[in-house]
């Protein structure tokens, strides 16, 4: 200590009644300072920076590995397109030309599957989306615009148009009869249904832009591929093959200026000469009969959007499922290390409002992991993109998406966002558990175990895991639309979710918010 005779200029002695007051300015307790302090802690611990780098490296490497190796053989005949989107357009169409406004009405006596063993199966299989009904189509060219009102085997009456639009009507079973009507006025087409042919309900209406004066109106029936998913022995086999369905029509009446004669076409199903390729089951034959104003049509195929099962963008970002392991460890350590080393007491001494300290930690950690996630996701997408383009994932079936396109931007930025949420979740678990090993294990098990278990569980249980545990956040990585009116092999272990891309991060956010609130409560209640 200093010599006693030279007294340093001491701060002005506080008045005894006022107690001690710090001479430091009040600015130090600002939230900005707190953020800066937490950022300094994060950036100066070399292990933590290395962990963050490991997360970037793991995400990038695993993503590149997962993006490679998927090959797309591709059909020899490109599918029809509508608005640059590949679509299914295959059905039997009994039609006549209608010029100007007009109406077609019919009583559909049911849409029933043909109980037969189709190619690809050893037992009869049916398709719930088998459909038959009335259609207005601009031409018989595959991919041309249409509007239709129909009865489906299991999904009731529907009004569908433009290949992607689908409106539900009554939930009539495919075994029951129903009156259907389609009215064309200018370029507007409206679909109606009725139980008795006198009281009509509107099912849906649409505007077919550029509808020519003369259009084709008529009856159609078709039945999409049957799908069977069987899981045993921890593996899944998806069997698919064409199916047929029969629709019966009565009292078919067309009002308007028509050509008068019915024509039969199999839209989009011209047979190639020669035997069918061995790897593709041949389409079963379409059939139809006419008896006065009654028709029976048996058709196979589908009219609607094409289900794209391979999501190359998601595949090229899937490394984040591994990258979250170091992120979770970092999130836990960011708080448990302070408990272990006693640093937390210094932190709380400097900033006694504990909730604010944790909020600052969460913000700094979230921002750092978000940036790390972006640093991994952007090159992962760019590398993956060139890889899958080389492997045959090209337009028109697979759209050529760049980094600036909406779905890709959402998936790439969303990857960073989800990793940031995982980090904050881990931080909260760290506060609640305090034991580093246990906290890391809990977070990693909750996030990684569902991925491992999904493939072996029944589809319902696996879907629950993928949709309602924190791993659901990764639904933001999906870029292919999921159409409810198409039965695709949407398997949870393939990363396919039944809800919109933003719903999953909402689920993860809810878990994170609840745990964070619990963590703040616990931090306030318990001595450090």
């Amino acid at each position: 200590m200093a010599a006693t005779d030279t007294t340093p200029p001491a701060p002005p002695a506080p008045a005894p009644s006022a107690g001690y007051r710090s001479t430091l300015g009040p600015g130090r307790d600002g939230f900005g300072r707190l953020l800066h302090a937490e950022w300094t802690k994060l950036r100066t611990v070399r292990r933590w920076v290395l962990t963050l780098l490991a997360a970037v490296a793991a995400t990038l490497i695993v993503s590149v590995l997962a993006a490679g190796g998927i090959h797309n053989g591709g059909g020899d005949k490109p599918p029809p397109t509508y608005n640059d989107r590949t679509v299914n357009d295959g059905f039997r169409f009994i039609h006549q030309a209608l010029t100007g406004d007009g109406t077609i009405t019919a009583r559909i006596t049911g849409v029933r599957p043909v109980r037969e063993v189709g190619p690809g199966f050893d037992h009869p299989v049916s398709a719930p989306w088998a459909k038959g009904g009335l259609m207005v189509k601009t031409s018989t060219t595959p991919g041309s615009d249409y509007a239709a009102v129909m009865l489906t085997e299991r999904h009731g009456v529907r009004f569908q148009a433009h290949f992607v639009d689908d409106t539900a009507g009554s939930s009539t079973s495919g075994d029951d009869a129903r009156w259907l009507r389609l009215v064309r006025t200018g370029d507007t087409v409206t679909g109606y249904e009725s139980a008795d042919g006198t009281t009509w309900h509107r099912v849906g209406t649409t505007h077919l832009s550029g509808l020519p004066q003369t259009v084709e109106v008529g009856l159609f029936a078709t039945s999409p591929e049957g799908l069977e998913i069987s899981r045993s022995f921890g593996s899944t086999s998806v069997t698919g093959g064409p199916t047929r369905a029969t629709a019966g029509f009565e009292k078919v009446a067309v009002q308007g200026t028509t050509a008068g004669a019915w024509q039969t076409h199999d839209i989009g199903q011209e047979r190639r000469p020669g035997p069918p390729p061995p790897d593709m089951p041949p389409f079963p034959d379409n059939e139809s009969t006419q008896n006065g104003d009654a028709f029976t049509i048996t058709g196979s195929g589908d009219v609607g959007p094409m289900d794209i099962d391979a999501d190359a963008v998601r595949q090229s970002l899937s490394g984040a499922l591994i990258g979250l392991i170091p992120i979770a460890a970092l999130g836990v350590l960011f708080i448990t290390a302070e408990f272990k080393k006693g640093m937390i007491r210094t932190s709380f001494l400097a900033s006694p409002r504990r909730g604010r300290v944790l909020a600052a930690k969460a913000l700094v950690l979230g921002a750092a992991t978000f940036v790390a996630g972006l640093l991994a996701a952007v090159p992962a997408f760019l590398l993956g993109r060139s890889e899958w383009k080389r492997n045959g994932f090209r337009p028109p079936v697979y759209p050529d998406l760049g980094l600036g396109d909406g779905p890709v931007l959402r998936a790439v930025v969303g990857t960073g966002l989800v990793l940031a949420l995982v980090a904050v979740l881990a931080l909260s678990v760290g506060v609640l558990v305090r034991n580093t090993a246990a906290a890391v294990a809990i977070v990693v098990v909750v996030l990684v175990l569902p991925q491992m278990l999904m493939a072996g569980l029944p589809v319902g249980a696996a879907r629950f895991l993928s949709d309602y545990t924190p791993i659901a956040g990764f639904s933001i990585q999906s870029t292919t639309p999921n159409y409810p009116q198409v039965d695709g092999s949407c398997l949870p272990e393939d990363g396919c979710h039944t809800y919109a891309p933003w719903t999953g991060p909402g689920v993860l956010l809810a878990y994170t918010a609840v745990l964070f609130a619990l963590a703040v409560w616990r931090l306030r209640r318990r001595s450090a």
Binding site: V62, L65, A66, G68, G69, I70, D122, H123, E228, S230, R231, S232, F233, G234, S318, G319, L321, I322, I325, P326, A329, V332, L333, T336, A337, K340, N435, T436, A437, A438, V440, A441, V444, V445, V448, L449, Q451, M452, L453, A455, G456, L457, P458, G460, A461, E493
Partner: protein, 296 residues
């Protein structure tokens, strides 16, 4: 003072400790350096920590609960094929072992990294300077506790699953026999699962001696166990999928749980456990070397 320092230094130094141990063996070991005594010391250390019992209870509970959850989702009629739906109900019942492994790893980390965090390791090595024997003593205690908790967890999981499966309709009418340890394959799956837990405990022990820090240790164990199955599900090349499942410690070690269609496995039940044992041996070797060569 100086003499004490020298003795402590010798006790802490690896090679010096071995020399001392060798000379002690020639002179007839004092009682406190015999293995049973050291095992007893390790047992006392671990037994008196309340967390140990919490971890063991978690291992038993999670193994049982997750097995019950995995079986409760099964339905004997959900595959409609012509051949009978061959669900491996034994394997499903033992799904919880996947999580049991992690809890066992936490126990091993708790036993080793806890000592480094608190500095007890220096006391331990002063009292028992033969580091190889310290490692063996810890392995015996952790292995014994793991085996006991594993047996309880696996037994409870099978018992619960038997009840759940019967109520779910997995009975003779659907071509399923009730779960019983009298069945050879089921017994193998059960014993193999317990052995798997013990091996994972020892594997973690080896890594924990190497890494010392609990976050690093749990991270590397989880990475080692989980990386290969997740990679295999992400990889698209079937050859690589097969290799990852065959040589990854996680999936290979759990191959022993299969009771059906063993010819279609990536690796057989016992060879798979052998792969895990090889990883464990390597981890213990490296961890033991690190323990003997480094200052505590």
């Amino acid at each position: 003072m100086a003499a004490t320092d020298a003795r402590t230094l010798r006790a802490l130094g690896g090679p010096a400790a071995r020399d001392r141990a060798r000379s002690a063996a020639e002179a007839g070991r004092p009682a406190r350096e015999r293995l049973p005594y050291m095992v007893h010391a390790e047992w006392t250390k671990l037994r008196t920590l309340p967390t140990t019992w919490l971890i063991l209870a978690a291992a038993v509970l999670l193994t049982t609960a997750i097995g019950a959850a995995a079986t409760s989702g099964l339905d004997p009629g959900h595959c409609r094929g012509t051949e009978p739906c061959a669900e491996d109900i034994v394997k499903q019942s033992l799904t919880g072992v996947l999580v049991g492994q992690v809890v066992v790893a936490i126990l091993a980390i708790h036993a080793v990294c806890g000592e480094y965090a608190t500095g007890t390791i220096r006391t331990t090595l002063t009292a028992m300077p033969d580091r190889v024997r310290v490692l063996v003593a810890k392995a015996v205690v952790v292995g014994g506790l793991t085996a006991a908790a594993g047996a309880a967890g696996v037994g409870a999981a099978l018992g619960t699953a038997r009840f759940v499966l019967l109520s779910q309709g997995f009975d003779h009418a659907h071509g399923y026999a009730a779960l019983t340890l009298a069945d050879g394959a089921t017994a193998r799956a059960a014993v193999g699962s317990v052995l798997n837990l013990v091996l994972v405990g020892w594997l973690t022990l080896g890594l924990a001696w190497l890494v010392r820090d609990s976050a690093g240790a749990i991270g590397s164990v989880l990475g080692l166990l989980y990386l290969s199955p997740v990679l295999a599900s992400l990889a698209n090349d079937p050859t690589w999928q097969h290799r990852l499942r065959k040589y990854g410690p996680g999936p290979a070690g759990l191959s022993v749980q299969n009771t059906l269609r063993l010819d279609r496995l990536d690796i057989g039940p016992w060879p798979g456990l052998g792969v895990l044992a090889a990883y464990t041996g390597a981890a213990l070797l490296v961890g033991g070397l690190a323990l003997c060569r480094r200052d505590a």
